[in-house]
Structure formats: C-alpha cells, structure tokens
C-alpha cells in the first residue's frame, strides 16, 4: 500500500505540489494525469524518495518514506522522465550495476538479468553500448533497470515520452504485463495511454488533486460531461487578437460550464468547451453573431477526455 498524507513540495517559495492525500492499494495500476506543470513528476519523485517533501508524509509498503527513505528505495523501481542511463556502458553491465546497487547478489543477478532482458525484449542488444541504441531501446533499458530487482512498487514517469507509435504500443503492452506482478504508478498527459493502462486515475492540476477514481467513476461523479471543440478565425473587421472577445462570447453561451485556454490549430484558434448538454447550435450562433469565422465544430469525444478537460478547466478558471 502507498499512502500519501498532506504531501506538499515547494521549490523556493513556489508551490509545486499539494497538499495532496491519496492511497494506492497493492496490485493497483494508478495513473497520474495532469497537464505539464501539474505536479506529477514532483509527486512521483517524492514517492521514489528522490526528493524530500516540504510537508506531509508518505508510507510505502508500511515504511515511512520520509524517516526511512533507504528502506523504501529497496521496494521501489523508478523510471524517470529521462531514463537514468550511463551512455558509455554496455546494456547488460548497466543492468548488473543497477541490480547490485539495489542489493542483489551475483547469483540472483545472473538469473534475473536473463528474465529482464526477455521481458523488455533487450536480449538482442544486451552487448551493445547504450549510446548506440535508439530512443525506444533506451527507454526499455530505463524500464529494465527499474524492474531488475523485482520491486513491489513500480513508478513510471511518462514512460512513452518521445516514442513513435509502434514503440508506444510495445511499451504499453510491456506495462500491461508488469501490472500482473507489480503495483504500478504511471504519469502521463496522454489520456488514451492512461485510460488503456490504469485501473484508477489521480487527476492533478496546478499541484492539487482534482479527482480520483476509475474513468467511469470520475465521469459519473462529475455529471454527464460533454465537450465541444470550436475552431474560430477572426472575421473581417474583428480585432487582431480576438481571443479574449471570443472567449467571453463562448463563456456567455447558455450550457457552457467552462472554457479551457485556446490554442492555435489548423489555421484558426481552437477553444475546448465543457458543457452539460449539446449546445452546438447556440455556440455556432454566438460565433457568427460575434462576427467571427467558424472553421470547425466538434462534439463530445472520449469520456476521459471530457472529464479531464472539465476538471483541469475548472482549476484554470479558479486561478
């Protein structure tokens, strides 16, 4: 069991996380979901005992992570955002080094190394120097070092970052296999990755825990949430920066509960609206009456995406 109680972290005077509290049961696969800067990496680094929290406590496998980080580290495998690789080392030597650091004997390592190389599909490159490997292989070596000592808890920070679509699927399958024997925490801002891999989600936004539960539970808790994506271009005679006006217009539409920060896409500016009903007609009317060009209008995608936008949009609005 992993238990975080009122966990917080400040960098200088700036709050990066918390206070947040959550529990993760043994055998669960939990996804940390949040935008960049939401505090996911900070939370995971604290759980991996890489960072000390500014406040609160963590308990991992019954051991206090603040008082006895040394003991906790024995139970944890951590794959950070950038895999902690020694580029000059041969893959198998590096994994042996990682295993020895975690207290494994040579006999244990001999047996486990073959298993881990097979699990992570690294057998063919076991004798290669790490810097000669592709990004996908390096990510696998990073994962291999995290599981070499067969830890009870596995913490993976953006494990599919920078991978191509094929490698993403392979990594996802690998994590699926690891779920059978480990308690896994994964952070990501890729919604599909999280929804396909995790039993439960912890949604973070600006250091706060915005929601927790399964994808379905979150959606139910938040009410039936729909999403409208509207892409707009400034019409003739409109302001050069029409975004504030457009946002005000969209927020005023009956049925729209929140509007996330817009982004430029496809020759226009895209606004993502969280709504409680299908109000496409009202949205399109508001855009046209506001003398803006309506380029595209999309309605309701996945359940998780809606929930996420709604939760994160809520925290944006409150800030």
């Amino acid at each position: 069991m992993i238990r975080a109680t009122n966990l917080s972290k400040y960098y200088g005077g700036k709050r990066a996380l918390g206070p947040v509290s959550f529990e993760i049961a043994d055998g669960e696969t939990v996804g940390f979901l949040g935008l960049n800067g939401a505090g996911k990496t900070t939370a995971l680094r604290i759980l991996a005992c890489d960072l000390r929290p500014s406040g609160g406590s963590i308990e991992i496998g019954g051991v206090d992570g603040v008082a006895e980080p040394h003991e906790v580290r024995k139970k944890i495998g951590f794959l950070p955002e950038n895999p902690p690789l020694y580029q000059d080392m041969v893959v198998s030597d590096y994994l042996k080094f990682a295993g020895e650091l975690r207290g494994m004997t040579r006999e244990e390592l001999k047996k486990r190394l073959t298993e881990v190389l097979e699990i992570t599909d690294l057998t063919d490159v076991a004798s290669d120097i790490i810097h000669t490997l592709s990004h996908g292989y390096r990510q696998r070596v990073g994962l291999a070092q995290a599981i070499i000592h067969n830890p009870k808890f596995l913490i993976l920070d953006e494990p599919t970052r920078g991978l191509d679509p094929v490698q993403i699927v392979e990594m996802r399958n690998l994590i699926h296999d690891l779920k059978q024997s480990h308690t896994v925490l994964i952070s990501s801002h890729i919604l599909t990755e999280i929804s396909q891999t995790c039993d439960r989600l912890l949604i973070l936004g600006k250091g706060k825990l915005l929601g927790t539960g399964s994808e379905h539970e979150l959606a139910t808790k938040e009410g039936e949430i729909r999403q409208i994506t509207v892409t707009i271009r400034g019409g003739s005679g409109s302001d050069a920066d029409f975004r504030p006006t457009a946002r005000t217009l969209l927020e005023a539409v009956d049925g729209v509960s929140s509007v996330a920060d817009p982004y430029d896409y496809g020759g226009g500016t895209t606004f993502v609206l969280s709504t409680k009903r299908d109000c496409r007609a009202e949205v399109s009317r508001a855009v046209v009456e506001g003398k803006l060009d309506l380029i595209k209008l999309d309605y309701a995608r996945s359940e998780l995406e809606n929930t996420f936008i709604r939760l994160v949009g809520g925290v944006d609005a409150s800030n």
Binding site: Y11, A48, C49, D50, L51, R52, H70, E71, R73, K74, I76, F78, P80, N82, P83, P84, L85, Y86, Q87, D88, M89, D93, F97, A98, E100, L101, R102, G103, Q145
Partner: protein, 241 residues
Amino acid sequence: MRATRIILRRELGAYLRSPFAWVIAFVLLLIDGILFQSQALAGEQLSAIVLEKFFWTSSGIAMAAGLLLSFRLISEERQNHSLVLLNTSPVRDAEIVVGKFLAAFVFLGVLLVLSLYMPLLIKVNGKISGAQIIVGYLGLLLIGSAALAIGMFASALAKNQLVAGVAATAMLFLMVLLFPFAKKLGDPVRPILQDLDLWWVHFQSGFMRGVLNLKDIVYYVAVTYFFLLLSVKALEAKRWQ
C-alpha cells in the same frame, strides 16, 4: 561499504572507457615531462634541487589533475540524469561521494606512478635518497586528494559541469593563495590563514623538500575529509530543494 565498492568499480571502468580521462593523463604527463626536462637540463645543479623543482611543478600537475578528474563527478551525472539511479537506490549519499572519490583517487595515483620515471632518472644520475622520493610522492597524493575533494564539492553543488569547473578552480586558487594573502594581515588572523594554505606551508616547506611532518599529513587528510563531508551535505541538501 558494499555500495561504495560497486560505485568505485563502475567509476574506474568509466575512466578506462573515457577518452577524456586519458587525454587529461596524456596532457598533464606531457607538460610534467617538458617542465622536468627544462629544469634538469638547466645547467649544473645539485640533484636534490632538481628533485625539489620536479615536485614543485608536479604539485601543480597533481592539483590540476585533481580538479579535472573531479569537477564532472556529480555535475555530469546530474546533467545526464543518471544521478537519479543512485539517488533512488538504497545507497547513502556518503557512499556515492566516497565511491566516486576513491575511483578518482586511484586514477590520480596511476597518473602519478606514470611520472615516477623522472625522479628515478635523477636517482640514477645523482645523489638522492629513495625516502625523499617517497615523501614527495606522498605529498603529491595528499595535495591531489585535497584538490579532488574540493572539485567534488563544487561538482555536488553545481547544476552543470561548467559552473562546477569554474567554482572548483576558484576554490583551489583561494586555498593556494591564502598564504601570500595572509602576509598582509596582522595577528591573530595571519598565522591561522597561513596554516590553512594548501600549498606553501604544508607542501613547499614539507613534502617538497623531503621533510615528513605529521601535521602536514593531518592537514591534507582533514581538508579532504572536510570537503568530502561538504559534498555529502550538498547532495543531501539538493533533495530538499
């Protein structure tokens, strides 16, 4: 201790694989050799004086080697993100620091051994005692280890290698220049600062001349220990930042 041994082994392997370490060794030995030749061939001199001059230049080489071998030890790992592996393994910060220090110390020792042919040439062609050579080399090892520890501390503090290199060089210069700086000050600061100087009092007046003083040995061991301790504290502090 087990983790220290594991880290020491990996670091030594890294030195063997790294062209950087061998380039440092080659360049420093080349400079040492050129300086030795220019001193040894500079007219008729007592062999003891030639040996003193050799240790004079070699002490600079040992300090430079100490700095060059140490300033990357932690800052490079921080920059390459590999430090996370050590930080999230059941390894104490002291074991990381000592493991890395010992590896650099061994490499420094190898580098100094490779320069041994020069005093041996003096011994063959002149009249010096083996003890004088041993004392001088002990001094080189000690002053080199102090420079290593200073570089390690800068490396533990800095976010990148460049900053670590500059900080380590500045700290080392400060430690070496304490003696001439203290001359301008009055009592009781002057003798204290002079005793803290890294080179003039403890190396030039002792090891360089073949004089073995326990206080000089204690001084270098203390400086090395102090900066290694600061390195451990700097690593610990980084976890709180």
